[in-house]
Symmetry: C3
Subunit: 328 residues, 3 copies
């Protein structure tokens, strides 16, 4: 099923240089695009690939207009990557298969759950008593939404997601652990996407809150009473411990860990695999990760690292007391 | 549904100063408590919040009696946090909705599984042949317990848990991997809680063992033939590799990794995101994590770290051989 | 159900020294083997355990023949660990319970999915439209295979696996995120094993590819458009970000993170918990992990680490300019 360039321009705007009747059979990266594909140039550093691409048409920024013209048809738009994102959405709609049922018959829905009639609940999902699922929200297969948790509108929850399992609340008592029942729930805003097998725990007394527009990748753990601000995005395998408050417009790289009860202000960016051990009150990029090296070099440096404090003391001593000059 | 203070004292003990007929409508933290809430002060460092709290009543330790009296009603108990934990349990029982069925009709239970009549198996669980589920144990939705695995009494398994998938056993052979069938199972003691999407693999020849009272958070991976001692607790995203033996009363922070075939004695505490690369034979707190910094500082320090061993050599040389005194 | 040594030798080869009629009731490690068990010595460093073992028979390499002979019956084979792996497979087949149904009645299979008649689909799996499952492939319980994804022959997918959830594709736009629809799929080769709750995302435009013989442990995240080469193995909790290309015959240790758009050539070995931040173009072992220490030592060294760059500058100054000799 192909789309004409004219239809694309009509839906998404942009300035077309080329034949509007040209038929696009697929979207593809520059390097592997065939002659019936539409591609895009997101950054000038890939310009070499532009020149070599066999694509029928390429989406470019105004700065690349001349280079694109030497190759063939193109669409000019201020932000080609954004245009491409919207194009994938247009493409998906144009190729849409008949919509899923409202609620798959294999899903287990409590009669006291509230599911908007425009929401879609996939196969083998579980929606418990008091849970609310908003308009146009989609739960793919095998998602659990526990008691009293609420999901806003236009959310997308991927397979295996668990919303509202108990937070990890324990009081120590004579060498054993006494459970703190988790009496709060989870509140998720609108336009939130949650990746496969990601877990968001219910709060102890109050709710865990995920604000509008948050995007979570796969296999993320969000502890109880965490608050994630609007439009913050986290990559896979991130862990956020209980009661952390993360601002809006933050990003957290894959495998990073945020300890509990910390506060990150808006516009904080945490690099992959970094451990956040203190609150961060100033926007910016923060990192803490041991640099990779060949194993032999790492072993030597790691061994020395365990003496680093005493090396500093030795350096201080040298600076203060001097050293004997070697006699020749 | 409210609870009178008198009913709480009757169930949990403690000394009440205030009106026993006072009706409690909710449990809440000091800061957000409304005038119908019961709250608690777990640590003197939060005493400012005590003074400002609107709570109907506050649970405090004997040392805080005077300060609490200046504010209003209070309950005195030696360990307010423990009292609060038990209060959440009382609250949950008091507000209990009718119990789940014994086995949800959507669960898939092998006829040769053994499920105690007091256990409850949630929606879309799978319990395979030869598996045993003990008294009063609860499997929430979408839990898998594989062949021949046993779960003790009063356990709680959250959604997505997988007990008894194959351990990762492979023998190398001419550049390929030959599977080692995992012929052991998983044995889980009493009073164990296992968080959402956590996995505990079956043993290769013998069983993987989780002893009584162990508490595991979400998204934890426990490899084959691991042995976890009584009342050990692990936070989210921890990975424990095969055949590790972890003692009793240990704690493992979020995102930590324990390598295979290691032994940790009782009362070892591993900090978050730490990699345990050797056995630990002495109780205590152990840590290994690159400190977070602003990205520019991190980059400079990380680059230098890759020369750390040679810096040490240069320092040694200075100490031994001295340095030329700069001529003025 | 026991196996005679003669039957084992007939099936797997090897030279038996001992009574072929001896009946083996179980497989066990040397240390815990009872007198009816068959065990193996994978490495000469365990020779002490060989001497002390009560096993009926032990699998050894030719070099261990004499020591084994002093103890009792043994089987000689060039690679005892490989022999043991095959023995577990023989054992499993010999003790096989009747095969699972082809497709468990609780599984949700789209009528337009293509499932080889020899494949087996476990309880509560979801196989979506256009998905293909190859010959003799087994999906254990609660596996999702999304639209148009293909799984080769003789694969084994453990409970909770999610194949083909959307990759994490977002274009930033005025402080919000615009979704990039993921139009590719996942292609998995033959003889691939995928651990419990592991996720492999579908590609953005092209497919995510897992080649033949790859072995993935539990709770692994594979991002969109990743390519994993033949016979590469990854331990639990690994995260591979989008568009990474990992060669053949690589190993990735538990909890390691591979950042996006990187290339690892064949035969690269990444240590546990290491963060791969650059392409690796030379085979070998690579590591980056902060060494564990008692917490007090770690604190001192970590604090000094944040001054490492300035320490280096001070050392340079000393080397260049000298230091005042302390007056006596």
């Amino acid at each position: 099923m192909a789309l004409r360039l004219a239809a694309i321009i009509e839906a998404l705007g942009g300035e077309l240089q080329g034949d509007p009747e040209c038929s696009i059979a697929r979207l593809a990266p520059l390097q592997t695009a065939s002659a019936d594909a539409l591609s895009f140039l997101s950054h000038p550093k890939y310009r070499k690939e532009l020149a070599a691409s066999r694509a029928a048409c390429v989406i470019v920024s105004p700065a690349m207009r001349e280079e694109a013209a030497q190759r063939g048809a193109f669409i000019v738009t201020p932000d080609p990557y954004l245009y491409f994102a919207r194009l994938t959405q247009l493409w998906k709609r144009a190729h849409a298969r008949p919509a899923l049922e409202h609620v798959h018959p294999s899903a287990v829905i409590d009669p006291q759950a509230h599911i908007d009639p425009t929401a879609r609940i996939g196969a083998l999902c579980v929606v418990e008593r008091g849970a609310r699922i908003g308009a146009d929200t989609v739960l793919k297969s095998r998602v659990t939404v526990s008691e009293d948790c609420t999901i806003g509108a236009r959310c997308l929850l991927h397979p295996g997601v668990v919303i509202g399992a108990d937070g990890f609340g324990l009081a120590p008592h004579e060498g054993t652990w006494v459970k703190i029942e988790q009496l709060g729930a989870v509140r998720i805003g609108d336009d939130v996407e949650i990746g496969a097998n990601t877990c968001i725990d219910r709060g102890a007394l109050e709710d865990t809150v995920i604000e509008d527009g948050v995007k979570l990748d796969n296999l993320i753990q969000i502890g109880h009473n965490v608050h994630v601000g609007k439009h913050t995005a986290m990559a896979g395998c991130v862990g956020v411990a209980g009661s952390a408050v993360i601002g809006a417009h933050c990003t957290v790289g894959g495998g990073a860990i945020v300890l509990g009860h910390l506060k990150l202000v808006d516009h904080v960016h945490i690099s992959a695999a970094t451990v956040v051990t203190r609150s961060i009150l100033k926007p910016g990029q923060y990192t803490g990760m041991f640099p990779i090296d060949d194993n032999a070099s790492w072993e030597k440096n790691a061994a020395t690292l365990k003496q680093l404090h005493s090396l500093r003391e030795r350096l201080k001593t040298l600076e203060k007391e001097g050293v004997p000059k070697k006699t020749p």
